[in-house]
Amino acid sequence: MKLQLRLLCVLLSGILLLSGCSSTGFQAKSAKVSFPEASANQDLNNKTVDHFIPCAQKGDLSLYVKPSNAEFYVETADGMRWYSNPPERGEDTVASGTYRSELSSQLVIRYFNPVTGENSSLSTMSDSVYDQLFEILAVPDGFCTKYSFRFFKTEEGADEPSVYEITIPLYVYISDGRLKAEVGVSQIENGHPDMFLYNISLLPFFGAGGSQDEGYLMVPDGSGALIEFNQGRDFASGFSRPVYGAEPTILRNGYDLTVEQQDIRLPVFGVKVNGAAYLAVIEEGCQESTVNAWGNMQVTSYSNVYADFAIREKMDYSIGNVNTSILEKGSPRIPKIGVSYEFLSGSDAGYGGMARAYREHLIEKYTLMEKAEPAALFVELYAGVRKQVSNLGVQSDTVIPLTDTGRVETIANALSERGVDNVVFSYRSWSKHELSGKPQTSAAMQPTLQSGDIDVRRLTQSQDFLFYPLFSDVLSFSNIGFIGRNVDTVCNLSGVTVRPRRYLPGLGSAEGEVYYFLTVGKIGDYIRRLKSSISNADFKTAAFSDIGQLLYNDYRGDGAKRGHTQTEITAAMKTVSGDLRTMLYYPNEYALQFASDIFGLPSKTSDHDIIDRSVPFYQIAISGLIRYSGQPLNNSNAGSDALLKTIEAGGCPAYTWIYEPAEALRDTGLSGLSGCHYTLTLDQATEEYKAAAQIERATGGSRLYDHQQVTSGVFVSIYENGARVYVNYTYDSYQAADGTVVDAKSYAVKGGAS
C-alpha cells in the first residue's frame, strides 16, 4: 500500500510539473541580422545647424536632415517633400500633452517599470532631442540617429541618484529606390535595470496630411480602406489593428464578440497627399506590428498613419482590484523593426498605384508567377456537422451529413446543366479529425459522409470541376488528449497552457468550448504527419484556412514569437503544398506563395468609424497572380450590396452551400449559417457566374489594374486591357463620361482591347 502511495505521489508531481510550462527565458533563434555601418560625421552631428542639409542622394530620392533636432525629409523626382514631422506643426491647435511632443518625434517608445508599476511613454523629441541627448551618424546613403534617454534613480543607501541611460538607434537610408527606416532593437543599450521597453512607434507623422491638404490614408483593413483627410470625425477613436490578427493567446476579457472585425492580412499602409503618394511596407517585425491611423482633429490636426511594434509581449491582468502586467523577460526577441517607403507620383499616386507597387514587391519577394485563370464559381460545401444526441440519457456525438460525396456530384451536375462550366469546390467539415475536434493530422474521411465508392480522392481528381478538401483545424483544435494538452499546446507568458473558449451568441461571452493552439515546436511534426496522410490518400488538391491566417506567440520551452511561428508555418507549408494544388482561405501575405486559389477575399472593410470607403487594394495586388473569390454571397450577413461589391473587386462569385435543407442544421453549431440550401441560390449563382464570365470576356482575362470613384456611389474598375467595369450603388441610373450607362444598383461593362 505504501509503495503504491509513493508511486502515486511521484506520478502526481510529475503531472504537476508537466502541466506548468517551463519557460526558461528562451534564446533568440533569429536569423543573422545586419545593420548599415555607421560612422561619425561632423556635419550631421553639428547640433547648431538649424536647417536641413543634404545627407544622401540616390536615384530619384534625396534625403535631407536637420542636425539640430534629427528631423528629416525625402524629396522625390517630382519635387514632393515628405517630412518626418509636419513642418507647420507649430500652428496645430488640437494636439495637447504627449501628442504635441509626438508630432515632433521620430520614435515613440512605451515602457513598463515593474518595480514602480509605471507604464508610460517616451518620445524622442521631449525626452531625448530636447535635452540634446542624441547623436547623428552617417551610414551609406543615409544617416543613423542614436537617441539617448536618461533616467535618475536613487538607490537605497545612496546619497546621489545614479544615472541610467537607454540608447536606441534609428537608421534612415535609401535602398532599392525606397526609403528605409529601421530601428536596431538588438542594438538598444538599456542600462536601466527596471525599465522594460515594450513598444516602439516608428515615424508616426511621416507624410501626415494637414488640414489644408487633400488626400487620404490607406489601411489594409479587409480589402483595403481609405480614411480621407478632414472628414470632421473628431469623436471617433483612431484605427488600430494588429497585422496578421490580434494575438489570440491573450484573452480579451469582457470583449463583446458579437462584433466581428476584419483582420489585417497585409503588412502595408499608404498615404496620398495632394497628388503624390507613398506605399509603406512593414519589412521587419511585421508580425509584431500594429497599423494605426488617426484622422484630422482627433488627436492632432493631422491625419497620420504609422506602424508600432511590440518588441516585448506584455500581458495585462487583474487580480481582484489590482491591475498589473507581466512582461516578457530577457532581451527582445525581435532584432530589427523596419518600414520601407516607396514613393509614387502622377497616375500612380493613389491606392491603385500603391497596390501595383505592392504587387511588384510580392512578385519579387515570393517569386510569384503571372497566371491567368478562367473565371469560376466558387462553392464552399459543408460535408457534415457534429450534433450531440442522447439516447435514453447516454450522450453521444453523431455526424449529420449535409453534403456527402455523392451529393457533391449532384450539385456539380446541376450546375453544369445550367451552363456553369467552371466550378471550384471547397469541401468543409468532412474529415474525421475535424469533426471530432482533433488536430488535423490525417486525411481520413468521416465514413458516414462517403456515399458509395465516391471518395474524396476521386473528387480531387475529377476532370469536371476543381475540388479542394479543406483542412481547417491544423493550428487550433479542441480535442486533444491529456498528455498532448500539456506538451503540444501553446503556453502564455505566465507559463499557463492557453485555453480560450469559443464565443457564444447572445451576450457574446466566451463560454463555449475550450480550444488550444498547437505549440510552435510541433508545427512541423504535425504538418508532416498530415502531409504523409494526404500523400497516402493520393489527393491532388488541398485547401487550408487557419494555416494561412493564424499566428501566435508561444512560451513553451524555448518558445517562439510570431515571427518564428511564421517561419515554421512557411517551412511546413512548403512541404505540404509542394505537389498539391492548394487553396487558401483569405490568407496572410506570407502564405500567398502557396496558393493557386484564394477563397473569401473580402470586398469590403470592417467599417470602422473613421473609414470612409473600401477599395480593392488586396485584389489589385494579386489579380493576375492568384485567382480569388469574394466572400460567400448568400450567408446571412453578406449585405444587400454584396454582389456588386464582388463585381467591383473583380473576384469570382462565391457561395456556401449544403445539399440538405436548412432544417438539418438545427441545434448544431452551424445553425447560424443562412440560406445555404443550394436550390435557394442556384439560379442566382448561375447568373453571377455568367456575369463574371462576361466580364472576363470583356477584359480578355487581363488583370485588375486600377480602381476609381467616378462620383458618389459610382465606381469603376479598370483592367489592364482597358476594359472598364462600372458599378452603381445609387438608386438612380448614371451615365459615364465614355457614354456607358449604368442602371441603378447595377453594373455595366465596357470592353477593352482584346
Binding site: E260, G437, L680
Partner: protein, 700 residues
C-alpha cells in the same frame, strides 16, 4: 473510442476565423424555447450613418434625444449647443432651430434631455437645465412654458427636472421627471397639472417584509444604510397607435428574491395606468433573456406602427426587437468603433420602416434598414398576429428556408395547418416549434379523429388483450402445482426473484418471507435501481410533448444516476444510523433492499405515466398525477411494511422512524456540505501555495 461521460458540446466554431464579412459587424440572435441564444439572419442592417455635417452643422455637440414626427420629419435635440436639428424623411438637412425666444426675449434651452413633436408640429422640449417644459414652433418662438406645478406633491424639497415626454392622442402630456417615484407627471391638454401616471408597484417580497419589520427597530443611520422600497422611476416611454403607453423602468437587482431585471421593467400601460403587458415568451427564453438582461440597462424604446417594439440598452449597445406579444424577434447591435455599433446610444425611434439610433458620443444617427429577411419576418408576424395564418405561411417558409432557428415560424405554420384542420401536420410543426400547449390542442383534435377512424381496431385490440390475459392466467394456474398466490404463502419453492415481484402485491407476506427465510436478493435490488434510473431517462426522453416539451438531446443519464443514487443512499444511511439508536434489527443491505423493493410501484407507475402521457392532452394531466400518487402511496405502504418487519417495530414507531430518517437525511447533507467546504478551503490553500512556489521558481 474514448467517450467522456460529461457531455461534450462540440460546436464547430472554426468558422470563427473564416466568417464572411458582415454588412453589420455583429450577428443577430434570438432565444429558443430551451433558453439558448441562437444566431439568426439580420433583421436590420446599418444603412446610413448621419453626422453633424449631414445635418448642416460642423458637428453635433451633445445630442440627447431624437424624435420622428407624424409628418415624417426627424428632430434631434442637441443639448450642448442648445439647438434642435431637423431632417426630412430622406435624411436631408431641413432646418436648424438654435434660437429660442420667449415674449421677444432670448430664452435659450440648457441641458435639455427630451423632446416630442405633436401632430400639429409643435415641439415640446424638456428643458431640464431650466427646470421647465417649453412648447415652441419651428421658428423658435416659445408658446407655452410649464414650470414646477403648484401642488402638495411638489413641495420645497422636490425639484422639477423634466427629462422625457410623451403626448397621447387626447393631447395629454406625460413628463418623466428625475427623482419622481410616483410615475410620470401628467398634464392635460391645457397644460394644467393633473397628477401622476403609471408608478411601478413595489413588490412585497419576503425580504421586503422582513426589512420592514426590522426597520421598526432601527436607528436613522441604520435605516439610511438599507435599501429603500420605493417604486422605481420610469426610465423612458413611448406611445403606441392605440393609445397605450409603453414604459421601461430599471430592474431592481436585489439578491435573494425575485430577480427583477430589465425585462420586468417593460410595461404596457392602458389609460388607467394598469399594466396590460402581454408576454407570450416561453419561460426558458424569458429566463435566459432576463439573465442576460441583468447586464443591460434599457434607456429608450420605440413602438412602430406594425406593432413591433424596439428597446435599446447602453451597456452593451443591444437593441431588442419584440413583437406586440413581447416575443423576441431579434437582438442585435453592440458597442464598438464600427458602423452599426455605438459608443453612447441615447435614443431610438422609427422613421417609416427604418430604425434610427442616436449616439451621443459618436454624435451620429445610425439608420437601420429592414433586410429582406426582416421584411419576411415582419410580414409573417404581422399576418399571424392579425389571425391571417394562411397568408403568413409563405413568408414563414421563406424564413425557414434560410435559417432553421425561428421557432415562431414553425408555430406560425403550425397554426395555419391547425386552422385548416390538418392536425397531424400541425402537430409536427408545433413539435418543431417546441410549443407544448399548441401541440396539445392539435393532438386533442387529432386524437378524436384518430380514435373515430380506428375505433374498430382499438376495440378489437382491447378484446384480444383481455382474452390473452385470461388465457395466460388459466395456463399458469394449471401449471403451478400447489403454489397458492394469495397472502400467507407457504411454499418454499418460490425463488428469490419471484419473491421480489411478489412483495408488490403482498407486502406483508413477502417481506416476512424475505426477513425470516433470508431470501433477500441484492441482484434484484440493483436491477430495480437500474430500472429507476432508466425511468428517469425514459421520462425525460419519451414524455409526451403535450405535457412537457423537453430537449431530448439534453437528457443526461449520469445526472439521473447520481441524483437517485445519492438520495437513496442518504435514506438508507440515515435509516440505518437511526436503527442503531432505535433498536432496529435490519442491516444496511437489508434496508437498501427493502427500499428498492418498495420502489417498484413507483417505477412501474413511472413507466405507465410516460406511456399514458403520450395519449392524453394537457387538460388531462391530472391523470398522470393520479398515477404517480397511486404509485407513491403504494410504495410508501410497502416501505412501511418492510421497515416494520425488518426492524421489528410497531406501526407507530415505524412512522416515527421514517420521519426521523428524513430529518436525518437533512442532517447528513448539512454535514457533507460542511466537510466539503472545509476540504475545498484546504485544497485551494494548497493549490495557491503550489502556484506561488512554481511561479517563484519560474520567474526567479
Amino acid at each position: 473510442m474514448r467517450r467522456k461521460s460529461v457531455c461534450i458540446c462540440i460546436l464547430i466554431f472554426s468558422v470563427l476565423f473564416c466568417l464572411p464579412a458582415a454588412a453589420a459587424p455583429y450577428r443577430s440572435y434570438t432565444y429558443d424555447s430551451y433558453g439558448n441564444a441562437v444566431t439568426i439572419p439580420d433583421v436590420y442592417e446599418p444603412a446610413l450613418i448621419l453626422n453633424g455635417q449631414d445635418m448642416g452643422v460642423q458637428t453635433m455637440g451633445t445630442p440627447t434625444d431624437l424624435f420622428v414626427s407624424q409628418s415624417g420629419d426627424i428632430y434631434i435635440l442637441d443639448s450642448g449647443p442648445g439647438r434642435i436639428l431637423v431632417l426630412d424623411g430622406n435624411y436631408k438637412a431641413k432646418s436648424i432651430i438654435d434660437h429660442f425666444t420667449l415674449n421677444g426675449e432670448d430664452s435659450p434651452i440648457t441641458d435639455a434631455s427630451g423632446l416630442f413633436v405633436d401632430n400639429q408640429n409643435r415641439i415640446f422640449v424638456a428643458d431640464t437645465g431650466n427646470r421647465r417644459v417649453i412648447r415652441t414652433g419651428t421658428d423658435g418662438v416659445i408658446t407655452a412654458v410649464i414650470d414646477k406645478p403648484e401642488s402638495a406633491y411638489f413641495n420645497e424639497s422636490v425639484e422639477f427636472l423634466p427629462e422625457k415626454l410623451v403626448i397621447d392622442r387626447a393631447g395629454n402630456l406625460y413628463v418623466k421627471c428625475r427623482n419622481i417615484y410616483q410615475g410620470a407627471v401628467l398634464f392635460d391638454k391645457e397644460l394644467g397639472f393633473e397628477g401622476f401616471f403609471g408608478s411601478e408597484k413595489v413588490v412585497t417580497t419576503a425580504k421586503a417584509l422582513s426589512d420592514f419589520f426590522w426597520k421598526q427597530f432601527m436607528t436613522e443611520e441604520q435605516k439610511d444604510a438599507m435599501a429603500d422600497y420605493v417604486p422605481t422611476e420610469i426610465t423612458n416611454f413611448d406611445i403606441a397607435d392605440d393609445g397605450f403607453i409603453f414604459s421601461i423602468s430599471p430592474g431592481q437587482n436585489m439578491p435573494w428574491q425575485n430577480m427583477k431585471t430589465e425585462m420586468d421593467g417593460i410595461r404596457r400601460l392602458n389609460p388607467k395606468a394598469t399594466d396590460t403587458t402581454v408576454n407570450k415568451m416561453s419561460k426558458s427564453a424569458y429566463q435566459s433573456m432576463a439573465q442576460d438582461a441583468r447586464r443591460l440597462n434599457f434607456i429608450d424604446l420605440t413602438y412602430d406602427e406594425n406593432g413591433f417594439l424596439n428597446i435599446i440598452d447602453d451597456q452593451k449597445g443591444r437593441i431588442y426587437h419584440f413583437d406586440r406579444n413581447l416575443q423576441l424577434i431579434a437582438a442585435f447591435g453592440s458597442l464598438g468603433d464600427y458602423d452599426g455599433t455605438f459608443l453612447g446610444p441615447v435614443a431610438i425611434d422609427m422613421c417609416g420602416e427604418d430604425l434610427l439610433v442616436l449616439d451621443s458620443k459618436k454624435a451620429t444617427v445610425t439608420v437601420f434598414r429592414l433586410t429582406d429577411m426582416g421584411r419576411a419576418v415582419h410580414q409573417a408576424v404581422g399576418f399571424y398576429n392579425q389571425g391571417n395564418y394562411e397568408e403568413a405561411i409563405e413568408p414563414w417558409q421563406r424564413v425557414l428556408e434560410h435559417n432553421p432557428n425561428y421557432e415562431l415560424a414553425y408555430i406560425g405554420i403550425g397554426s395555419a395547418l391547425y386552422n385548416r384542420q390538418e392536425h397531424q401536420s400541425a402537430m409536427e410543426y408545433f413539435l418543431k416549434g417546441r410549443d407544448s400547449e399548441r401541440y396539445s390542442d392539435a393532438y386533442k383534435e387529432y386524437r378524436i379523429i384518430s380514435m373515430r377512424s380506428n375505433f374498430v381496431y382499438i376495440f378489437a385490440g382491447l378484446i384480444a388483450v383481455f382474452a390473452a390475459v385470461m388465457l395466460v392466467r388459466y395456463i399458469l394456474r394449471k401449471r403451478r402445482r400447489g403454489i397458492v398466490l394469495t397472502s400467507g404463502l407457504q411454499s418454499r419453492d418460490i425463488s428469490r426473484y419471484k419473491l421480489a415481484f411478489y412483495t408488490v402485491l403482498h407486502p406483508g407476506g413477502g417481506f416476512d418471507e424475505l426477513h425470516y427465510r433470508r431470501k433477500n436478493s441484492l441482484r434484484m435490488s440493483i436491477l430495480y435501481f437500474a430500472a429507476l434510473v432508466l425511468m428517469g431517462a425514459f421520462e425525460q426522453q419519451f414524455i409526451g410533448p403535450q405535457i412537457n416539451m423537453r430537449d431530448p438531446n439534453s437528457v443526461n443519464l449520469t445526472g439521473v444516476f447520481f441524483s437517485r443514487l445519492i438520495i437513496l443512499f442518504l435514506f438508507v444511511l440515515s435509516n440505518w444510523a437511526l436503527s442503531a439508536l432505535a433498536d432496529g434489527k435490519a442491516t444496511f443491505i437489508d434496508i437498501w433492499i427493502i427500499t428498492l423493493y418498495s420502489l417498484q410501484p413507483y417505477i412501474y407507475c413511472g413507466f405507465l405515466r410516460v406511456l399514458v402521457s403520450n395519449f392524453i392532452i394537457k387538460e388531462e394531466a391530472a391523470y398522470l398525477q393520479f398515477i404517480m400518487i397511486v404509485g407513491i402511496l403504494w410504495s410508501l405502504t410497502m416501505l412501511l411494511s418492510g421497515i416494520m418487519i425488518f426492524h421489528e417495530y410497531e406501526l407507530g414507531k415505524t412512522i416515527l422512524s421514517l420521519i426521523i430518517t428524513l430529518i436525518g437525511m437533512l442532517l447528513i447533507i448539512f454535514l457533507v456540505f460542511l466537510l466539503y467546504s472545509l476540504f475545498q478551503q484546504l485544497t485551494s490553500t494548497i493549490m495557491t501555495l503550489m502556484n506561488e512556489i512554481s511561479f517563484r521558481v519560474r520567474m526567479g
